[in-house]
């Protein structure tokens, strides 16, 4: 068997995992009065993994290996590159935040890297049990990260709530896997695809139940309504750079797996699950946006906004897999950059347990921190979906996919909800640009590494708004490998 052993598709995940172990040991062997070089180690590991993805991609990718369980096709490589990039930016945002809030421990980085291992596995799994294991690796590390801010009640609350509801939803996922195994006699996606396309009436009910259960599990991870309730609490309580990783990375990874399962393996059932996904999209957009309107807390507002954005992405899933894939993949890139930026801005200013969370905290920011205010304005404008930022191009593709598939009403809701969202995003911009500052500027100085992270996010947001073609082309190639 050793001759068939090809681990190359797993190399990026292995590199990240080993880096996680190294970071853990480095922390353990560092004397109490010294600081372990966790952040540089993590960054190196992530960049090395990125290089491995690059090498795999330039080698034309890899087919399925390990008994058809994982693959390094264009689709997984696209996602792996995206996730590694997101993680690298999150790592850049972390050191100053952790130091300013007295959380600077290597375990944070180790957990971050382990969760990335899970994400990488999630998007490259071709088999449901591997997918589930990857999902759990990702989730358990994140439960830990959410609770790392031990001195804050909100953080402990976040960890507990995330864990309890997460375990609950995992059960649904696992049950769905079991039911689909019952249909196809295999957990592999291509066997499942074949089984689903030759269904009898008896097994059709099983397959539908299984698909529904999987949808609940995924719905939880992408924070779609009604499985979203954890999101605001967890996003608010977790250390802010971890929130950035959750909102950008988890969502991307979960959508990656969701699209692979529903877009290709279960596509024969599309007639059944598409109306469902469409209704999930509608309530997610409506509830997410309206709830975001009522938030006075910036982090909670962004949390509900991330719920709303899950709804926008879901609208594209009603299109043909190729078109949906292209729109979704591009949007996830955009969304990753923008959300890292938005949460990153909050994290970069955080100091001694305080963060700029209310409109009063950011009032007059344009006068005191012109560059930072401009960057945050770019992110918020992009979230609103106004042209010249990537958010517009992304939304245009999502809604265009929905309309092409004949779901005009869905696109209509999306566009109208974007209009609603303008109010709560721009409220922040108004506060920054059109209000006088309140009190002294006691926020932290933005560290060089955070500056790099924020500048990178802002540049990506703008460049993808003006010249999205290269990323769109990559997204198209990646989506095609799904078919």
């Amino acid at each position: 068997m050793s001759g068939e052993l090809d681990l190359r598709p797993l190399v990026p995940a292995i590199i990240v995992g080993v880096t996680g172990l190294v970071v853990l040991l480095a922390q353990a062997f560092t004397p109490k009065d010294r600081r372990a070089p966790s952040a540089p180690l993590s960054l190196t590991g992530l960049l090395a993994a990125l290089a491995a993805v690059w090498l795999l991609a330039s080698g034309g990718g890899r087919g399925a290996v390990l008994a058809n369980a994982v693959s390094a096709d264009a689709y997984s490589l696209f996602f792996q590159a995206l996730l590694l990039g997101i993680a690298a930016v999150a790592v850049l945002l972390s050191p100053s935040y952790l130091r300013a809030n007295g959380l600077d421990r290597g375990e944070y980085y180790a957990l971050l890297l382990f969760s990335v291992v899970g994400m990488l596995g999630l998007v490259s799994s071709l088999e449901l049990v591997s997918m589930f294991v990857a999902l759990e690796i990702m989730s358990i590390a994140l439960y830990g990260m959410a609770g790392l801010y031990r001195s804050r009640m909100e953080s402990q609350e976040a960890a507990l709530k995330y864990f309890v509801t997460g375990a609950f939803s995992s059960a649904f996922f696992l049950y769905g896997v079991a039911l689909l195994y019952g249909v196809s006699g295999s957990t592999s996606l291509d066997r499942l695809e074949w089984a689903v396309s030759t269904l009898t009436t008896d097994s059709a009910a099983l397959a539908l139940l299984g698909a529904g259960m999987l949808l609940v599990g995924f719905g939880f991870k992408i924070a779609s309504v009604p499985f979203h309730m954890w999101a605001p609490d967890v996003y608010e309580g977790a250390p802010t750079p971890a929130t950035a990783l959750m909102s950008a990375g988890v969502k991307a990874a979960a959508f990656g797996a969701l699209l692979r399962v529903f877009g290709s393996a279960l596509h024969a059932l599309a007639g059944e699950w598409q109306p469902l996904v469409a209704s999930l999209a509608v309530i997610t957009m409506v509830v997410g946006n309206l709830a975001a309107l009522a938030q006075g807390n910036l982090k909670r507002m962004l949390a509900f906004s991330s719920v709303a954005h899950a709804g926008y992405v879901l609208t594209a899933l009603v299109a043909s897999p190729g078109q949906a894939g292209e729109a979704v993949l591009f949007y996830l890139v955009v969304y990753g950059a923008v959300n890292l930026g938005a949460f990153g801005t909050i994290a970069a200013l955080s100091r001694e347990g305080r963060e700029p969370l209310s409109l009063g905290d950011v009032a007059g920011m344009a006068e005191r921190r012109p560059a930072l205010a401009a960057a945050l304005a770019v992110f918020l404008v992009s979230l609103t979906g106004i042209p010249v930022t990537a958010g517009f191009v992304g939304k245009f593709y999502l809604f265009n996919a929905a309309v092409t598939a004949g779901w005009v009403g869905l696109a209509l809701v999306g566009v109208l909800m974007s209009v609603v969202s303008a109010y709560y995003y721009l409220r922040v911009v108004v506060a920054m640009y059109m209000r006088d500052p309140l009190g002294e500027d006691t926020w932290a100085r933005v560290s060089p590494s955070a500056t790099v992270a924020l500048a990178l996010s802002a540049v990506i947001t703008l460049v993808l708004g003006i010249y999205p073609a290269p990323v769109l082309t990559l997204a198209r190639i990646a989506a095609r490998s799904l078919l």
Partner: protein
């Protein structure tokens, strides 16, 4: 035909100059400000727009060097060589469109824009935030040029959103006034509603034509099957959705409520953005997509009726306003209605003609009012003015030219364009009647404004009288140039120039001899009426006011639009949902917030808040409920 190398470069240069100005001011503004006179930044901004204007004129000349194509149309599409978006049969290149229509628009934008930039140098001389002001003005010019030059709908939309953003920044420019920030937000939210229509319309256009390129749309619209009244085919739906966008941007019913509030911004901004250029974007878009609109009778009728009703309604509101800028704001809404009326009856070229003459006289009137306000040390209430004719003569004479032009006195610019609109509406007696009556009202309220401000005795008190002064020459020169335009601009035959763009034949409008006479008579009647009521026999006013009290009350309340919107929020949405859906909505939150447009959704959001209790068992319960609903749906036979 397309081997003119300059034409490939010039349009991009025109476009990028103001953008360059913005970038330089945004990055180095503080440094430039340190020069002695502190006007370096201002003149830099002016220079970019003036050079743009020169290049635009040059481009127009070069365009006429091209060989005319089918239907006498000369056009050129400069292409940057890059795609903005591209996906399966769908591509949005960075390409512009230079044809007679975009040339007219480009010249208006840069021409009037340059004059207003220069005027601003004087008007904003005492303002601390001049550098951001001029940088926004430059950015606005860039986006406006992109709007009129963009070769496809998405690029046009970029400009469309961009001008909205700049307008919002400039309305709220004096943000330390609360009303200014609120007005800015209102403008933006109302416009977002329109923009939603625009995006959806764009998607429908793509699915009808398979392209978003403006030339493709114009060329292929003719091959669509005509859609009659109440027939909702693809063209009608697309055109109506796009028109929603136009009503938002061009302040037509029912989305007109933001424009009068937008007068909180500095006056040159009102002149440039809220009179001459941005608010006419809707007219430009409808005219640009004229061939598409022409396919659908329903859409054309909607445009014409909305235009006519808006023209009449806004004119009546203008009758009773006392704030000089608000009179002009409602007058703008009314004149925009005229332009839509022209487009709706099929005379797109005439709509553009009126847009062009309106740019002259309305910019002139706004700048003139700015000069008045400047002289009055910031006072905008006409009841406190009077007799300014002798104190600020230059302002008065130029203002007079603008008033005669908008009133439609023969041989001034407004006369020609208004006459053409009325001639185009000849086939629709009701619309024609509304047009003629609105012309009378227009003459009346403008004459009223003129008499209240410049004639009679000064009513502002001694101290204000002491401060009265004529504006500096940087402000007067633009006024004089615009006055010349308002007087003579009507002799340029814009409709004939732009007609080939619409692919609708030569579009000859039959003229009847009595119409100009009737229009002139109604204008004179309006002016005479105002003369008797406000100068000769003011005592008549009281009697007349009591006779028409119910009507005047409606006018003064602006037809209750704002009240209806606010009332809708308060009664229907908040209270209704309070009773039906949730008993426990916090009344303080609701009451405190109803007066804002965005509260509809805010109130809904408040109703959702009780759902987020924070109890993890309820989270799990909701997941379970969701799962049950989901599976239940899937297994439903």
């Amino acid at each position: 035909m397309l081997d003119d190398p300059l034409l490939k470069i010039l349009p991009f240069a025109i476009l990028l100059l103001p953008l360059g100005g913005f970038v330089v001011l945004a990055l180095f503004g503080d440094w430039i400000k340190r020069d002695k006179e502190e006007t370096g930044a201002a003149w830099l901004a002016c220079a970019t727009v003036i050079i743009s204007f020169g290049l635009a004129a040059w481009t127009t000349v070069r365009l006429y060097g091209l060989v005319a194509g089918e239907g006498g149309l000369r056009f050129f599409q400069p292409y940057l060589g890059y795609e903005w978006m591209e996906a399966g049969g769908f591509s949005v290149p960075y390409s512009l469109l230079v044809d007679p229509l975009s040339c007219v628009m480009m010249l208006v934008v840069t021409g009037v824009g340059s004059l207003i930039h220069v005027y601003s140098v004087g008007y904003m001389a005492h303002d601390e935030d001049r550098v951001p002001y001029f940088s926004y003005l430059n950015l606005f010019t860039f986006f406006m040029l992109l709007l009129v030059l963009g070769g496809n709908l998405p690029l046009m939309f970029v400009g469309w959103e961009g001008v909205g953003l700049c307008s919002y920044l400039l309305i709220g420019f004096w943000y330390r006034k609360d009303s200014a920030a609120a007005a800015g937000l209102k403008a933006f939210i109302v416009n977002r509603i329109g923009d939603a229509g625009l995006i959806l319309g764009m998607i429908f256009v793509f699915h009808a034509f398979g392209s978003l390129d403006l030339v493709d749309i114009a060329d292929n619209a003719g091959s669509l099957a005509p859609e009659g009244l109440w027939e909702f085919g693809p063209a009608t739906i697309a055109a109506l959705l796009l028109f929603v966008g136009a009503t938002g941007k061009s302040a037509q019913i029912p989305l007109h409520v933001w424009l009068p509030d937008a007068m909180e911004g500095p006056t040159p901004v009102s002149a440039l953005i809220h009179a001459a250029t941005m608010v006419t974007a809707g007219v430009y878009m409808v005219a640009r997509l004229g061939p598409l609109y022409h396919v659908s009778e329903t859409a054309m009728m909607t445009v014409a009726v909305v235009g006519a009703v808006t023209a009449l309604m806004a004119a009546t509101i203008a009758l009773v306003q006392t704030d000089i800028k608000r009179v002009l704001a409602y007058s703008t809404v009314s004149q925009l209605g005229y332009m839509f009326l022209a487009c709706g009856v099929g005379a797109f070229g005439v709509g553009i003609f009126h847009l062009y003459t309106h740019a002259f006289f309305k910019a002139l009137l706004f700048l003139g009012s700015g000069s008045v306000i400047h002289a009055m040390s910031g006072e905008q209430d006409m009841q406190r003015m009077g007799g300014l004719r002798k104190r600020i003569p230059w302002t008065f004479w130029t203002f007079l030219a603008g008033t005669l032009a908008i009133a439609g006195i023969p041989f001034f610019a407004g006369f020609f364009s208004k006459d053409e609109i009325l001639a185009a509406a000849l086939g629709h007696p009701v619309l024609l009647g509304i047009g003629l009556f609105t012309a009378l009202l227009t003459a009346f309220y403008m004459a009223r404004l003129l008499f209240l401000t410049f004639f009679g005795d000064f009513r502002g008190g001694e101290e204000a009288e002491h401060h009265l002064h004529e504006s500096p020459w940087v402000m007067l020169v633009p006024l004089i140039l615009l006055a010349i335009g308002s007087a003579a601009g009507g002799f340029v035959k814009i409709p004939e120039i732009v007609q080939p763009v619409f692919r609708l034949g030569h579009g000859h409008i039959p003229h009847v001899a009595w119409l100009p006479v009737a229009a002139t008579l109604s204008a004179i009647a309006g002016i005479l009426g105002a003369y008797y009521l406000y100068l000769a026999m003011p005592e008549l006013r009281a009697g007349l006011a009591s006779t028409f009290r119910p009507a005047l009350r409606v006018f003064a309340a602006k037809y209750y639009w704002d009240d209806v919107y606010n009332g809708f929020v308060r009664r229907v949405v908040v209270r209704g949902s309070d009773l039906v859906l949730w008993q426990g909505v916090d009344n303080r939150v609701v009451d405190g917030a109803v007066n804002r447009t965005a509260t509809i959704t805010g109130a809904l959001a408040e109703m959702l808040r009780p759902l987020q209790t924070g109890f993890v068992r309820q989270y799990a319960l909701l997941i379970l409920a969701g799962a049950v609903a989901l599976l239940g749906y899937l297994l439903w036979p």
